[in-house]
Symmetry: C2
Subunit: 204 residues, 2 copies
């Protein structure tokens, strides 16, 4: 059944992807224009030409349509983390595991621009974005603890995961804020390097 992933998706799956995309982009566009509070699920559904009930078959909340559910990436992330050779320091291992995610985002950068712009204008969503990271953290913590061979009550893995998440998040927001002169990967790399150096004050 490993070959099954290569077979072209049927009409049903194509339609599903289509409506899903229609819903996210409709949601993003409407919220970008009118603000989070002034857009109802009904309006989004109408713009995507489906019923409001169908909206909730795709997303469990209005926010999720905007932010996306990175659960799919999470598996991949963990797999890459496990696959990283044991000699690599934990922080660096996380950065390496993130590269694939980063590249995907860089490829979809127009979508992510819009998404991050919407997030910046609606702080309530920043919450959700961070929360997504926070869920990923939980899984990462265990993997890191294994990697380092420390007892589960040791605070270090949780600290590393949380800090890595914070570094990634700031790189993301910076990427969205800057005119897109620099690729996301560079900004992530820079942030992780600064953390690994102990965050010394820069000389002005």
């Amino acid at each position: 059944m490993t070959v099954a992933e290569q077979t072209a998706p049927g009409r049903r799956d194509r339609k599903k992807r289509l409506t899903r995309d229609a819903l996210t982009t409709a949601a993003l566009r409407l919220v970008a224009e009118h603000g989070l509070e002034n857009v109802t699920v009904e309006q989004i559904s109408e713009a995507a030409d489906v019923s409001a009930r169908t909206f909730f078959n795709y997303f469990s909340s209005k926010d999720e349509a905007l932010i996306g559910n990175p659960a799919a990436d999470r598996e991949l992330l963990l797999a890459r983390l496990v696959a990283t050779p044991p000699g690599v320091p934990a922080l660096e291992a996380i950065r390496l595991a993130l590269t694939e995610t980063v590249e995907t985002m860089q490829a979809d950068r127009e979508l992510w621009r819009l998404r991050l712009a919407v997030i910046e204008r609606n702080p309530a969503l920043l919450t959700r974005l961070i929360a997504g990271n926070a869920e990923a953290e939980r899984a990462i913590v265990e993997t890191i603890a294994d990697r380092l061979g420390v007892p589960p009550d040791h605070g270090h893995p949780a600290l590393v995961a949380a800090v890595a998440g914070a570094a990634f998040r700031t790189a993301l927001l910076r990427w969205a804020a800057e005119a897109d002169t620099r690729p996301l990967g560079d900004l992530v790399h820079e942030a992780f390097a600064a953390v690994a150096a102990g965050l010394p004050d820069p000389r002005p």
Copy 2:
């Protein structure tokens, strides 16, 4: 009018504090027992012997009754941050500014235990807790940028603030998870020290 703060609060303010406390503790106890989803605002209000409408005069959401609104502390935090001598590195300055908050929490540790236990059991709330920190971050970023004398588009202040927030949060959760052998201040100190050292892998 600076003396006014010393005058004893009138009956009205006393009652307000009372109902507010009644609402938070009722909310925490009920949610601790039945879970976040299975407790309604009406039940909380009833337990505190006020109308449901009054609940919303005190808190803007169910979550807020559980998490609390740290806006009050925020001002104090910023003031302390500004007051820290310029020679101190940014990361350490943030830790010092946090000491007062930490002491308050240590004093109210029973309340915070319950609160953090509730948060751990209801991940949706972790979101809110982090969001509170995220809001504090925004304010801290500017102060740090001033302190370091770097241009506002420089990414460093945002990174330091985010990482400091992450370190504080992990210390907090660890404090709640451990049998309370160690004071919160120690755990915060330890986390910040590890960050300042660049988060090297511990030797197993």
